[in-house]
Symmetry: C2
Subunit: 341 residues, 2 copies
Amino acid sequence: MAVTMHDVARRAGVSIKTVSNVVNAYPHIRPETRRRVQEAIDDLGYRLNTTARNLRQGRTGMIGLALPELSLPYFAELADSVMRAAEARGVVVLIEQTGAQRERELQALDSAQRRLTDGLLFSPLALEPEETEKLEVDYPMVLLGERMFGPVDHVTMANVEASRAATLHLIERGCRRIAAIGAHPGETMGSARLRYDGYRKALAEAGVPFDPRLVVEAGLWHRATGAEAMSTLLDSGVPFDGVFGMNDALALGALHVLHARGVSVPHDVAVMGFDDVDDARYSEPLLSTIDPGREQIAQTAVDLLLDRIGGSTVEPRRVVAEFQVVARESSMLGRLVPQGG
Amino acid sequence: MAVTMHDVARRAGVSIKTVSNVVNAYPHIRPETRRRVQEAIDDLGYRLNTTARNLRQGRTGMIGLALPELSLPYFAELADSVMRAAEARGVVVLIEQTGAQRERELQALDSAQRRLTDGLLFSPLALEPEETEKLEVDYPMVLLGERMFGPVDHVTMANVEASRAATLHLIERGCRRIAAIGAHPGETMGSARLRYDGYRKALAEAGVPFDPRLVVEAGLWHRATGAEAMSTLLDSGVPFDGVFGMNDALALGALHVLHARGVSVPHDVAVMGFDDVDDARYSEPLLSTIDPGREQIAQTAVDLLLDRIGGSTVEPRRVVAEFQVVARESSMLGRLVPQGG
DNA sequence: GGTTCACTCTACATCGTTGTAACCATCGGC
DNA sequence: GCCGATGGTTACAACGATGTAGAGTGAACC
């Protein structure tokens, strides 16, 4: 059926190991031999059988990437970055979706695919902090995008600092009543909590009073829920002059409703997002946001994981990516306007 | 290191093959034996080594999915659908990005990863029709989303019919000067050509005169190029009252510019997209579009591929998914308005 | 001229599974 | 009481590569 090293070896009149040596660029081979082997390889159209090599070497050359959903732009772009980083380092990425469901996140930690990969990049959304001991797995793993405890490598964005910066940016633009969209009440460790903390921190530092009525819940961080949250807020009649969407999708959804309801952005209300997804460059108006350092996160995570796969047993590392405030149109003004009753 | 069948066999006091039989649910095993083996498996925490099985069986249980870019929403959503379909059928998907570059599309056909998968779902964008013979590969393959020739299974959307329907929809809404955004002049087989053909067909059928000045080129089908194309069109001063974006990203980019330039949609200009990506549900106004049957495409493609992997050698099949016109806000009116000079 | 050494290559075992053939029991049928 | 069938299990050889040890060669060295 398929051409094996045996076939190549016979054709070139050498041993199978010599073929292996040629394929693996072993240096001590006579040029003449190398040429003959190479010729046989080309003639027969030989391709190395990766599965056999993997079995022999005890590695697969693949790493897993478990994330909530590819149809969420942030994760699609993260996957893109991770795949590029992995490719540059000679490994392949196997993507798994967890749907942001606790059950499926746990499954991902223990699925059959773990035996197919050398390690896992894991971006949990639904796991609770008290479950961190479940993260103590016996294979190389690096956590992405969250701050959770447990003796595991983490690469995370500066959630608190960055959302603090986002909020301060709105305050500098003159906002005094800033709504926060996307809260998860009761959460103690996830992005929602951390970004909320950053928001509170900024208000406190700037001496801007906190009004709990300006904090709007949104379970899933989609455009639809952002739109819904903004409708709720407008309907409540609570006045506001700034909006901090805990991610871009929420902010874009909110932008949509503000526009539909005739509220001018940024004239009446300034809006900030978080993530800097591609879409933020094409909204009306262009969305100001936080660039959390996605590329850096992807590259660092792959590096840390490969380091573990290579056998490193140093203490768990925590890397926080550098972020940037990206000021676009949606935050370039901002003035208090009472809304409704 | 890792627990193998040997360890389990020793512990249970049986042969290694019996362990294999238990693991593979071979029916003829004494209940008592099965119990002992199962116990040993549980005690030792044994997990089957997929690589070894793959080598032995000559299959990998993985299929490749080569697509342009995950950060293009249509493809992220397609990948999502394909992964779900694959999971339901017990196989794993290995995603590869080609960046829509001819060179990398050719590479994908012949990369090392081909040896890691049992077959390939291939969504080419850049390949030229005269290169179809390159698609005659010696492994199972199913083409996605395009109409290209060659003796290969295809699952495609009804590009011509659907864009004809999209254009007719605009005509029914009263549009008589419909711009088409996203053309690729000179292309003979790709989506751009087919959707353009559908557009022309609809005009001809409805007796609406064709004006070449209304056809705007756009190489990449991103929001940015859609926005650019719309700017060009507006600057040209050629009047129009409808826009057919050859995909949603182009249409959304166009929508953005129309809004920024003060053209009311759908009052002055009606807009249609193509793809029905998630974003079309959150634009301002909501984007009318074509649902090309993504789920059906994904499921059918996986089925056809698994059929080939299973050894089927029937004639190449062509499956065309069913599409639907999704009429939302952006096309609910439409009236001729001269633009500029 | 013998020893050493570097270079080039080969034979063989091995990675962890599964397919094949064959073995020993047991069983029913005649 | 012998026969064939079936059930339950095992030994062994694959799958296609790579690591190890070691066998030849020839040149360099004393």
